[in-house]
Symmetry: C2
Subunit: 159 residues, 2 copies
Amino acid sequence: MTVSDALLPAALRHRTSFVLARLAALSRMHCAERLATLGLNQHQHAILCCLDEFGPAIQRDVAARLDLDSGDLVSFLDRLQTAELIRRDRDPRDRRRQILTITQAGQRLLNQAETLLDEAEPELFAGLAAAEVEQLRALAAGVLTRHTAQAWRHQGAPA
Amino acid sequence: MTVSDALLPAALRHRTSFVLARLAALSRMHCAERLATLGLNQHQHAILCCLDEFGPAIQRDVAARLDLDSGDLVSFLDRLQTAELIRRDRDPRDRRRQILTITQAGQRLLNQAETLLDEAEPELFAGLAAAEVEQLRALAAGVLTRHTAQAWRHQGAPA
DNA sequence: CCTATTCATTGGCGATGCCAGCGATTGGTA
DNA sequence: TACCAATCGCTGGCATCGCCAATGAATAGG
């Protein structure tokens, strides 16, 4: 029985959704702080990941992948572009589209971000063994894939 | 390899903080919907839990317990009070304080809320066995208690 | 051609979390 | 007793975030 056990009502401590919300808020703060030192927010980091891993893509596809509002994506991209972390080129074959490409500077910053986050997680999950963290991640990911698969069935697959 | 595995970059799928944030957002939506049918938000539910489990308390202590901004607490309580789910009585021995008490109607609604959430979790965590959900909760709670204990050491214990 | 659709962009709305300041009240101290 | 500091609840403001509607440019289909 730790101190915080006495603080929170048992009805909340035993509710998975509540505990998850709390932990996510903690995790969010923790990671957002680190990324902020590089001038990135979480979505911008995710965008760089996308472009780095899947190569150049148009905004619509990035938004679909990350489940971002296309309007919000624009402002994130604006900052990434002015920081020269990405390029935004009109598709000559469909001039409505903007082809997003991560720059070398973007890749370098992404590497720094990944390093920062790699260092942040052990600190965030202090008290849990590495295997337990992986277990936590796997369980959470299991729930997620289940739901994203459902969303797929309901509204059809993005490109 | 499920469909969503192909959607998200591996760099994000393997990052615990990212997966947790996603799951928490999903969980939040899921639970907030249910509670909204009772006219409650998550904080109001938590407040009712507090008053039900620990008995009458002043606003300062409830805010400390739930880590809520005292200003925000006021507006939550206003709605709870007009709905007659709680009573707000001035402490005769310290007229600055308001003593919060859950009413019988509040307890009835809290029971309904708990039932709703009990039903919501299996649906939210479909695909995970009950034991796995508990494992997920326990792991998350472990990280949380660790951090709340740290916060205690740094800024002293609330009453 | 003319119409419908797609894509990026802009703007606004509501909810949330956080912080500063204000009155009322109390406690401590000279 | 008189004064000063601290506490408690309350108000208001600000920044962020996710979500949605509307617009303009460009394309696709009949």
